[in-house]
Amino acid sequence: MTEFLQALILGLLIGGVYALLAAGLTLIFGVMNVINIAHGAFLILAAFITWSLWRATGVDPLAAIVVLTPVMFAFGWLLYNATIRPIRKAPPAASVLLTFGIALLLEGIMGAVWGNTSHSVRPSYFTQSFQIGEIFLPKAQVFGGLVAIVVLISLYLVLTRSWLGRAIRASAVNPQGAELVGVNVASVAALTFAIGVASAGAGGAIASVLYPFLPGSHYQWIARLLGIIVLGGMGSLPGAVIGALCLGVAELMTVTYIGPEWATGVPYLFVFIVLLLRPQGLLGTRLRQDVATA
């Protein structure tokens, strides 16, 4: 029972971090119909920058978020305008291949800069735990999960309470309509992409404490995040949160009861089961396709 509770709580905490990372991915998909395969590479990039900051100044990795979010926001905005914007009218498959190419590029560059060895960020509290009864909760996990939830809530507030948030949601639901009422959909798309990358920046800083990473880790991360948004329903923000919590718990349960070497398989299983049983995901909707012009 203790074992189960421990796995459940840790799963939910990790799930909170996943939720933040998946939120950016699903947001980008919802607004632009772009699957950002480079999302995993963005978060590993953020993790490496966090590592360098921590090594150079000793700054707490969770505090590094304050620096990383704007830096990654600017990086995302520039990248969108340089690469994705010119192919906005191309078939959707083009953007998948493009972002995949960006992921490979980043992987190679990170390998050249930081090397292809495993890195991890270890703040002073890295080895400490909170103890509640018989349950041990590593401090890094607790702090990471809480910070992720705070960032996620601020993202949610931006999306629901600000003019930009309304413009983003309008562009997602009906780009032509949004254009007609004065929203510059292309600029909104650039900002959305930047926000998505910024959230990967925040999530990457947190993830740098939780898991060791190397440039090639981005495959595992993108597989995880894609599993989450497929489960939750692509483009749905609440779906991403639910999917992330499910995956966090399912991974921890797999580690506890089946074996850690199988944990990476959980998101793949999610993908296959969802596509077979409910292709639109938990909270996704099936749209009328006949009125969507080619």
Binding site: A93, L98, E107, I109, M234
Partner: protein
């Protein structure tokens, strides 16, 4: 192109069945010589040179070429991008490695088994992909690749985990160098290319291209999309699996990281994109270029991170600057040079003679006791909280031109989708010609004799007008897949139909180049190819000029006189009231009235719900 040129080309190019006749035709002239020379050089190379570096380079290029030719079937023809194609190389290699280790025998014996197993697994992926479109499909292929890698890593008892499997050293004399690998791969590449060519020139390829262009539409014109997709996946993997088996034997060591490396997939995808999708030789050209680049990078630039940067950068560059690939780009350039200064057909207007060539037959009086061809009972469909169709019931009498009118949002198009099978009802029944059809997929309904057009006209844009018209299938059985894409009788029937709608001149024009009204006419000819009993038209008069509206009215009467039943959704009241009888009125998802045009115009419920109190029909159009 000139009309005469188009005529002359039909026999060869359209029967050749590609998406783009121009590409097929130009393959003859400038490319034939280049291809023949390249094939001869590759075939004779080991005989004249004992340079093992180049033998190795060509062997690896051929492995990736087989992979890219296979990928072309699902990506180039059917439009499904896969990032998991490399997994079939690994699957093939592991099959051979495991079978040799556990059962014994020569690796060559197991190569066909590797092909079989790969195509079986691919068919299973096809089953999952039956419901996964576009993006979810890409995600599934990534998940598939990583899942295979995970299995190979963790299933120690079968795969020896990360330790890998070592294959026996070849037994033939050193004198023969890599020849057995070289020529077996060359054979596999040849068979793959023949397969790709065969698919493309037959109904199979035509159906796949229809799926690529518009999958839902393909289903409504009788293409059994899941069968096509599953077979395409199986076909795309069979030779790749065999090539993977040979590859595993060749490099003699198999491990999860090497065999299920996503970079193998990247190399295959890049080969296809760079060479040119949906072309026969593009994937081969691409594979040789990319493998040469790969080896050069590894040997001269240290591989590793540099290779990642080069592959990633190249992928970005190809998508942004060379999206069509080398061969189509060169072809397009040659085509432009050849046709420079010649007038195009697109944009011509229908001539006056076309419009009044035929006397429309007088309107047929409908027998009052005509049996119902289509009967809809208590149909319901909601979208979230919106009840689009809310218990609609009505019948369409055989031989009638029935109108379905009602305000926007009253559920007309949804009813079309439910009857046509693009969407499933939550409640209710649909009966057609004495059969209950609401559980049947769209293509079965098309085979039974149900044809429909779409409110926003949907044609297969990259196909020519003639190909669009012959794409519909009135029946389906596996043997049909091997039938020529455009048979003689089909072509002449299609020409008749195009003549009927006045679009024969545009036969060889790409559908995407037509105007909206022209597309409507072609779409009508397209569904007539199904020889349907019931023709459902969604706003046939929407967005086109008055002369064309008259012409469409005429055609509907003529077809009706020939025995076709119509169900028409339309907002143009003079058109509807002058043409149709009976008229059904839909409001809030229910049929609220039915009667002759005269009765409908006086019905207070209809005036209230749709036409408005002050409705006066100024002058009914009598075509």
């Amino acid at each position: 192109m000139t009309d005469a040129g188009g005529q002359a080309a039909v026999g060869g190019t359209l029967a050749g069945g590609g998406a783009s006749p121009s590409r097929e035709r130009s393959l003859r002239s400038p490319w034939t010589l280049v291809i023949a020379a390249a094939v001869a050089i590759v075939a004779l190379f080991p005989v004249f040179s004992d340079d093992l570096y180049y033998q190795n380079l060509i062997i690896l290029s051929m492995v990736f070429a087989v992979g890219a030719v296979g990928l072309n079937v699902i990506t180039g023809y059917a439009g499904y991008i896969s990032l998991g194609q490399g997994a079939f190389i690994g699957l093939g290699a592991y099959t051979v490695g495991i079978c040799v280790g556990d059962i014994g025998g020569s690796p060559w014996v197991w190569v066909p088994v590797a092909g079989l197993l790969s195509s079986l697994v691919a068919a299973l992926l096809g089953v999952v992909a039956m419901r996964a479109r576009g993006h979810s499909f890409v995600i599934m292929t990534i998940a598939f690749l990583f899942l295979m890698q995970l299995l190979a890593t963790n299933w120690d008892s079968l795969t020896n985990g990360t330790g890998g499997i070592t294959l026996p050293i070849p037994t033939w004399s050193v004198e023969y160098q890599y020849w057995p690998f070289y020529y077996s791969l060359m054979g596999l590449l040849a068979v793959s290319l023949i397969g790709s060519w065969w698919i493309r020139r037959n109904k199979f390829g035509m159906g796949l291209i229809a799926i690529r262009e518009d999958e839902d539409k393909a289903a409504t014109v009788g293409v059994s999309t899941p069968t096509y997709k599953i077979l395409a996946f199986a076909a795309s993997a069979v030779f790749v699996g065999m090539a993977g088996g040979v590859y595993g034997y060749y490099i003699s060591f198999i491990d999860p990281l090497g065999m299920f490396n996503i970079l193998l997939s990247v190399q295959i995808v890049l080969s296809l994109l760079l060479g040119g999708r949906a072309t026969l030789w593009g994937p081969v050209l691409g594979a040789f270029i990319i493998e040469w680049l790969n080896e050069t990078t590894n040997n001269e630039l240290g591989g590793g991170n540099t290779r990642l940067v080069i592959f990633g950068g190249l992928l970005v560059a190809v998508v942004m600057f060379l999206p069509r690939g080398i061969i189509p780009t060169i072809d397009g350039w040659l085509e432009r040079r050849r046709t420079r200064g010649k007038a195009g057909l697109a944009g011509e207007r229908l001539s006056g003679i076309d419009l009044h060539a035929r006397e429309a037959p007088p309107a047929k009086e409908l027998a009052p006791d005509a049996p119902a061809l289509l009967e809809v009972k208590g149909l319901e469909r909601t979208f979230g909280g919106v009840r689009a169709v809310d218990g609609a019931s009505f019948t369409v009498p055989e031989g009638s031109i029935t109108a379905l009118i009602g305000p926007n949002g009253s559920g007309k198009t949804t009813i079309f989708n439910l009857v046509g099978g693009t969407m499933a009802p939550q409640q209710g029944e649909v009966w057609f010609d004495g059969q209950r059809i609401d559980g049947k997929p769209p293509w079965k309904r098309a085979h039974l004799g149900l044809g429909r057009t779409f409110q926003i006209t949907r044609l297969f844009r990259e196909m020519t007008v003639l190909e669009n018209v012959v794409a519909p299938l009135r029946d389906f059985h596996l043997g049909l897949l091997g039938a020529g894409a455009v048979s003689g009788p089909e072509a002449s029937r299609a020409e008749e139909l195009l003549e009927f709608v006045g679009m024969r001149k545009y036969r060889d024009v790409r559908a995407a180049e037509l105007s909206y009204g022209q597309m409507k006419l072609v779409e009508l000819a397209q569904i007539l190819m199904l020889d349907p009993k019931l023709i459902m038209l969604d706003e046939p008069a929407g967005g086109i000029n008055p002369t064309l509206i008259e012409r469409i009215g005429e055609m509907i009467r003529e077809l009706n006189a020939g025995g076709k039943t119509f169900l028409i959704v339309e907002h143009n009241m003079p058109f509807v009231l002058g043409l149709c009888n009976p008229v059904l009125v839909l409001a809030r998802g229910q049929a609220i009235a039915r009667g002759t045009p005269e009765e409908i115009q006086r019905d207070p419920k209809v005036l209230d719900a749709y036409l408005g109190e002050d409705f006066r029909l100024e002058e009914p159009v009598r075509t």
